[in-house]
Symmetry: C2
């Protein structure tokens, strides 16, 4: 069986990443990688669906075992991506989607050199600001911070293999599918 791809996706907040990935995951033969964390589950969060909730000692033992392809500590909680479920699913021919921020993606570049890196970008910073404002769910301050962060993250787009500009959603989705198909046609994956 042909091994599935590992597709690492990053995008600034407000770029429509969730909508695009939601559409992609409707296709057969995809597996969405669930992060592990030591933080407490929030209301409605399910183990294995939203996160794999681990005890701190378990997480640290797994770090020692080299079980993570990336991990980091934020606010006294660990977050990380376990290699085993990714490799198991790839071996079954499934394409694994891994949603992660820029620093995590760059760690994976080193630990999984055969991964495919896709950055989803807004058509412009101005469009992103408008989208966030039209949502009407964030304060002006939060929007300003999100926009500033998006600008910094978009600087990193050059370190990805592909950039999808999410201007028209349908085009962005078909671009994503085209990238996956092209990667499947790559000589090294055949």
């Amino acid at each position: 069986m042909k091994k599935g791809l590992l597709i690492v996706v990053s995008a600034p907040s407000g770029c429509g990443k969730g909508t695009i990935l939601g559409e992609i995951l409707k296709e057969p033969n995809y597996y969405y990688s669930v992060s592990a964390t030591t933080r407490q589950p929030r209301e409605g969060e399910e183990d294995g669906v939203h996160y794999r909730f681990l005890q701190r000692e378990q997480f640290e033992a797994l770090i020692k075992d080299g079980a993570f392809i990336e991990h980091a500590e934020y606010c006294q909680n660990y977050y990380g991506t376990l290699q085993a479920p990714i490799e198991e699913n790839r071996a079954l021919g499934r394409n694994v989607i891994l949603e992660i921020e820029v620093q995590g993606a760059m760690q994976i570049r080193k630990t999984c050199p055969d991964a495919v890196f896709i950055f989803i970008a807004p058509p412009s910073i101005e469009t992103l600001r408008e989208r966030l404002m039209n949502r009407g769910t964030e304060t002006a301050e939060v929007i300003a911070e999100r926009v500033a962060q998006a600008e910094r993250e978009t600087e990193c787009a050059k370190d990805y293999d592909y950039v999808i500009i999410n201007d028209v959603l349908e085009t962005a989705i078909s671009d994503f599918k085209a990238i996956v198909r092209a990667e499947e046609c790559k000589t090294k994956n055949n």
Copy 2:
């Protein structure tokens, strides 16, 4: 304006390359690269359509000028690919399709490192043999030679960026389009 791609395509005879490229060239913004040659035009061949017909002295002067991205001599005739029309069309944002055999493609690897290399392969050598036999236009001897050559050429598929297996024509065409779209999304082309 975004520069067009240079797409180099090779395929053994009988792999459906002509049909696939015919469909691709129906799309807007493509330019089909016409080879130059010193051989005499055959009945019905038009200059600039089937070949650019050049005098031997012209061809040799152009070699000296470094005007070709690849050239070779067969049976006392020169054949080659001129760089200028390719670069002019790419500068206008057109994707250039260059159909060429394996040795020529490998020369272009060196002269145009930013080109995209696609190999179109039959699902199997047995299928290729059947297809050539069903055409009914070639003798058993010619078919045997074509099949042997296809086997040798398919060995070279690993030196291409992408391999499209032409099993179902519609899939092969959509694979080709996906590769082009993915290449357009590549960070280095953005």
